[in-house]
Symmetry: none
Subunit: 192 residues, 4 copies
DNA sequence: GATGAATGAGTGTTCATTCAT
DNA sequence: AATGAATGAACACTCATTCAT
């Protein structure tokens, strides 16, 4: 079935698959069980040897960074979608909600948000700059539209995103309660 | 069986001093440098041997727990103070602020405890129940006084406290920004 | 039997014994099988756990250094003995022979000699300075007595010691051959 | 069985080039940075993949051996040159000097080979026998010419070569000091 | 033949916990 | 009660060697 691959890609296919698998597994594992999980276990769960893990990510920290970068990129992509095609105010609040909701049950997503606000890690700088810029534009737009307190700065916004992400995460599966939290924050963000 | 209960007391003075010192040092160290700091270092900083540490706290986890419990108790005490001498609305907001500012750096602990498989609720239930009850009273009082949205429940309040704690923690040393965050949340908490 | 030890030494006795044993074993093992031997094996051979090894020597390199320091100190002590109480020329040649003969079958002894000539390692500096100074005095004395070429410097002497140590080591158990090597070198060291 | 032996040859050009390049690089790298350098790095420096390295040399140890053999062969060739065109005494001393200067940095190899359990003599016997024989002839010639102590045997000469090689190696870049060492040894080698 | 991704045993080191003193 | 030396399982990471492409 499908097309016969005349030239099986220059052999990078398996490598790329392994890399992707490692990233997926690491994301899952770090999210659910914390960053303390041994590298060996991650490798085993991905079906490869430790050596392979370290070939793709020279350090456990590098693996963590890669996970975060991917999360940040996902965020940026979705933010991008929302941004284009909505009125500034609407875009701002939709985006806030989206970012927060993506982090439910995923504490490392919150970490990623937080990292975007702190940005000490060199490897993360590029991708965290991306969303930070997007959010900056979004914030300015909403403020110009008179939908958000004019005195609010980008750092506070990032901190609030990470914080509300955590709040929602801690609340767990309680849609009504989550909605109430959004109401509180959104109301508070509006001028006056 | 049935030894005369002489209940020795004299030597306890030093022991109690050591215990208190260990708790102080552990609080300081865990807060500023994370829970990854080796027990031996904590013992040294407290001026005792590791053995002494483990005599008082049979496990590192137990030490973490004890630190948490004491924090919670301190918070409960301060909350009590605030509660008893102020108008309900004022007491509520003062208390919110106090708890947020006291909880900076605490999230690390909770996660470590959870990761260690401790049933956080069982271990800390007693002391955490105390503040939870106080907060419930405070919330109801503020709602009756018309200072807080009537539909807000205790779970959301707790989640918000944790979340804003994290936001403030991430923001770091920026008093003006921190104030802006409080303004947003306090404004949002008020009815309508 | 024996004296009842009223006060068993402040408990350092065992620790010191372990440390000494580790040093002995490491010396033996490094000498006979090279520095590539795993730390764990050294610990096992000394009858202790790895942790104990690392408690006494924070690094494998530190252990190696300690071995070398002890060798250098041994050399210095024996050199000292020979120096005092002999005529300068005699002392010089006796000492040369002694140093070389101690290194037979002990390549790390040669290393120690070499280290005294190079002295990059900070930890070795003190002890290597000691013998270097002694040998410097010895050399000057012998040169003043007209027994050694006046143009020979200390660096060359140290290099020669290490080199002849290696030569003798490679020659193995052949007393006559060893003697011939000494004859060659001693003759060459004399003026003209 | 019994395929027609076509004896392919064409593609061998590249293979031979690779082999030679690997040997060159390995010699350089092992000499300057020790035998601990990873195979992969050597392959990269030679511009080939690890697989190619292991196709040519089934083992790291085999690569080491090949490097040694080539060094010995080079030495033998130069020794031969010196031998044939000079008076016996001159040839002997020139050759001594040459071998010492060529062997700088070689001791590392021999030790690594020995440590790896290779029977150095069997693996390198052929090529080392060559120089040994030449040196034997050279020694005898010089002794007949009255330029070298008659009682000196070939084993001591070999040991001296290795030892002085090490001495010179340790001395590093100090031409004058090196010269003084040669003076000492050459003077010592002469009769009486 | 060549490539380089994959492997996994092996290494140095850490750290919570125990126990002799 | 206190001490700190000892323990050893656990961890991150390396590297010679194999093998699918």
């Amino acid at each position: 079935m499908g097309e016969a691959p005349r030239r099986p890609r220059p052999m990078r296919a398996d490598a790329a698959r392994n890399r992707a698998r490692l990233l997926d597994v690491a994301t899952e594992v770090f999210t659910t069980r914390g960053v303390g999980v041994p590298t060996e276990e991650i490798a085993r769960a991905a079906g490869v040897g430790v050596g392979t893990l370290f070939r793709h990510f020279p350090t456990k920290e590098a693996l963590l960074e890669a996970v975060m970068v991917r999360r940040l990129e996902t965020m940026a992509a979705r933010t991008e979608q929302l941004t284009t095609g909505s009125a500034p105010a609407e875009a701002f609040f939709d985006c806030f909600r989206l970012l927060v909701e993506q982090s439910v049950g995923k504490s490392d997503f919150v970490e990623a948000l937080a990292a975007a606000g702190v940005d000490v890690r060199s490897a993360l700088r590029e991708s965290s700059t991306a969303i930070r810029d997007q959010l900056g534009d979004l914030l300015t737009g909403a403020q110009r539209a008179g939908a958000v307190r004019p005195e609010l700065g980008l750092p506070e916004l990032l901190a609030l995103l990470a914080g509300i992400g955590r709040a929602v995460e801690q609340l767990g599966a309680d849609p009504a309660g989550r909605e109430r939290i959004f109401e509180v924050v959104f109301a508070g963000l509006r001028p006056h």
